[in-house]
Amino acid sequence: MRDVIVIGAGGGGPVVAKELAAQGLDVLLLEAGPRHAKPREEWTTFEDDANNPLTGYLRWGPSDRDKPAWYREWPQNSFVWQLSGVGGTTQHFYGNYPRAYPGVFEGYDGPDRNGYDVDHRFPFTYGELVPYFEWVEATMPVMTAAMGHKEQTFFRGAETLGLPVQTTKTTHRPSYRPQENAILQPGGTAGKTADKDLLVYPKATGCTFCGYCFQGCMRPNGAPRNQFAKRSTDNSYVPMALTAEVWSRGGKPVELIADAFVTQVHTEKRHGVLTATGVTWRSGDTEHREDARVVVMSGGCTENPRLWFSSGLPNPNGWVGRGYTDHFFDWVFGVFGDYTGNPKGVGSSARLDYPPYGGLENVGLPPALAAFAGTLSDSGIRGHYKNGRGRTGPWDGPAGRVMGPELKEVLSHGMDRLLSVLVITDDDVEAQNRVTLSALPADENGPIPKVTFKQRQRTARTLRNREFMARKAAELLRGAGAEKVYRIDWAPLILHVQSSMRMGSSEQNSVVDPRGETRAVKGLFIADNSALSNGLGGPNPTLTAQALATRTAEKIFATYFDGDPWVRSSAPVVSTDPRISVRLAQLGL
């Protein structure tokens, strides 16, 4: 019998595991995918080897790469970018750590208060979450990002839009700024040389500007795991969870089991109340079962609903899996006469926030991913067909795929002369966008999820916001000096995932109560992006999900273990702490 079992070691799960381990609880952390314990031996820097969703080492599938990936049903042209493995989807994320906009919380009374998704706010104030933001920001640690050429180009464009520079953590108004990133900033030789021999830890510390965020961060070469630049959870929270005894008095290290796919959450009625009792997971062909006082679901926005349904848990208001938000991204890029440094440095280090419409950020990509990004569209192929869309605006020609000869021409102009802007929409929670169980055949872990997004039937506010931000992106690129600007009109690329098991104040449209516990099953908590109440207004979700997970950890400790909260009364330990490095080395990690 464990104190706590956490399902999923992605962005959210390791946060709860680490926090409760620090308090001395006995925590079991189960992860469906592989443990990449030796990235220098397992990873490369190549796009197909890393990112091919079917075969890459960063994919949604089992450890054995000769086995097929886990199939998911998407009944529309779309792409849901899930990752299995310790670190989850943070393994290939960009570490952008902005806070949610204040306008998405209860009690907000700014002049633009009616501009947000007012029916689906967080059930508490922004101020309530601030100490948790600060806790995560100090733990990671989150830092103001350094600038490379692609950021310089982005800022040159942003400066023409008549907006102020944001110099606070909180976003109060439309503004632009360097990203606040969960990335250790360059120190020593890092960022100053391309010479391999000089880019060795500790001569180099922090980000070396390699440009391989998407392929997994294992730099600087020779650094302990918890000193790798990008603070994906496999480099930050997981090392802390595994070494809790060395940095927290009374801490107890978490037991982590990889290749452990949870297929069932068990419950029983206790005094008439449905209560979680434990889980069953599969490792290869064997099943294991353990009980716990508290079970935490952190499998992500697509897998939590699946596990809920396949465990036969109740869904009285029908909201399990509903209200999925994805920031309804779009992609606008410019072709420049001059060097932009596009594929170098952190994936993204510059952003523009535009509450209550959404935001923009620059994104650097290597060639195959850039080509993929240029051909994922709901608007057909430029110059040939529009698929009923193909909008025109401050970009060149109609929106649509840049394909074939045109793509070859654009990319042959040089990767280093492109600048891509990710258009992030403040999108509404809508019941129609959801996860259900698929009618297609089950996989080895049970019935598979189906992710439905009705991108053409989104709310008027969502669609308006997307058009607004796409125009801003084009204006920014023109301002930066782009010779040509393309808008792709992406089909849903679902990787900022939020709110499919949403927390809310109303029993009518939420799955999780304001403490993070599910309304239908006691002792069952949700702690990852799916518990977010909404799409945050557009900011990248992980910081807010981790702040919320930290708060949920406190609620678990208080409710089920009679403990006191700690965030307001103590100081966080930074995840780069040398005690953690030493202990990791002893553990062979």
């Binding site: 796009e47 079917l54 042209n77 060795v200 051909t375 698929n387």
Partner: protein
């Protein structure tokens, strides 16, 4: 009636490319090869399967060559047929066709329960669209023999490689766009299309109101039918994105054992990506915007 049915059957096989690939101008099977299988009875069925398998594989490869040059044209004959020749290497040199075939046949975790009926439908379906196909008479074959070989193949226990139904789908659309594509250079109707016609074929696949499942005449029970219909829309987009990803990626020159590249990938040459190969870092750190290294509320 029988005549109409045979005509429609012949038309369908021509449209998915099987008829042309088997016995057309560049056809891979000759009557004499097919004939022995028919000469005797059941005991000779396995050879028929052995004969048809490579035909379908070649047909799929040819069709997918037509797809990958659509994603990245080069100096190859497929790019010329498409009307967009390019002086520099393209998808064929980049190994994108192998990439797609390997992905489809070995790694797309597409449930057999769907792939099999769609695949069968693409061979056994009647799908008479009423489009007049010219030149069918230049594809002389005893339809019964070809059908028998196909049926035997589909009824065998072998898993149908996914590249085959995908190729069938592209070819079916190709002949919808241009009926003349049943004959011509290359093995497959899709590879015979111009660039604009290929785009038109994808337009048909992507069109949200096109019920491809109806066109394929596959009998799926609900709710599977709705799923298959949605899947085909997904497949349209995915084929384009995957072909492009493959064309610009390193898969053809990647050595799995040494985890290094045997050669510089075609896509890297075009784009100028990391001229000296993989790095540990770059000297691209300029400084902090407005000199600010820290913010607070």
């Amino acid at each position: 009636m029988v005549g109409a049915r045979v005509h429609s059957r012949r038309a369908f096989l021509a449209r998915v490319g099987v008829l042309g690939a088997a016995v057309g101008g560049g056809g891979l099977l000759t009557r004499s090869l097919l004939a022995p299988a028919d000469a005797a009875t059941d005991s000779l069925l396995p050879p028929a399967v052995d004969l048809i398998r490579p035909v379908l594989a070649e047909l799929a490869r040819d069709t997918l060559n037509g797809l990958t040059v659509f994603a990245m044209p080069g100096r190859d004959p497929y790019s010329r047929t498409q009307g967009t020749p390019s002086p520099t290497p393209g998808a064929i040199e980049a190994g994108a066709t192998d990439f797609i075939i390997n992905s489809l046949d070995n790694f797309v975790p597409f449930p057999d329960a769907i792939a099999q009926p769609v695949g069968s439908a693409l061979v056994t379906g009647l799908a008479d669209s009423g489009i007049a196909l010219p030149g069918l008479e230049v594809l002389p074959v005893d339809l019964r023999r070809l059908d028998r070989a196909l049926a035997t193949y589909l009824e065998s226990d072998e898993a149908l490689p996914l590249s085959f139904p995908i190729a069938g789908l592209l070819n079916l659309m190709a002949t919808q766009v241009n009926p003349l594509a049943v004959n011509g250079p290359h093995l497959s109707p899709f590879a015979r299309l111009s660039y604009a016609e290929k785009a038109a074929a994808f337009e048909l696949i992507e069109r949200t109101d096109a019920d491809l499942v109806e066109l394929l005449d596959v009998q799926f029970p609900e709710p599977l039918k709705a799923s298959v219909s949605g899947l085909l829309k997904f497949v349209g987009g995915a084929l384009i994105e995957f072909a492009t990803f493959g064309a610009y990626g390193e898969s053809a020159v990647y050595d799995k054992v040494t985890r290094t590249l045997r050669k510089r990938p075609v896509g890297w040459n075009h784009t100028g990506y990391q001229p000296d190969g993989p790095v540990e870092g770059w000297d691209d750190f300029i400084g902090y915007y407005q000199g600010r290294q820290k913010v607070s509320d």
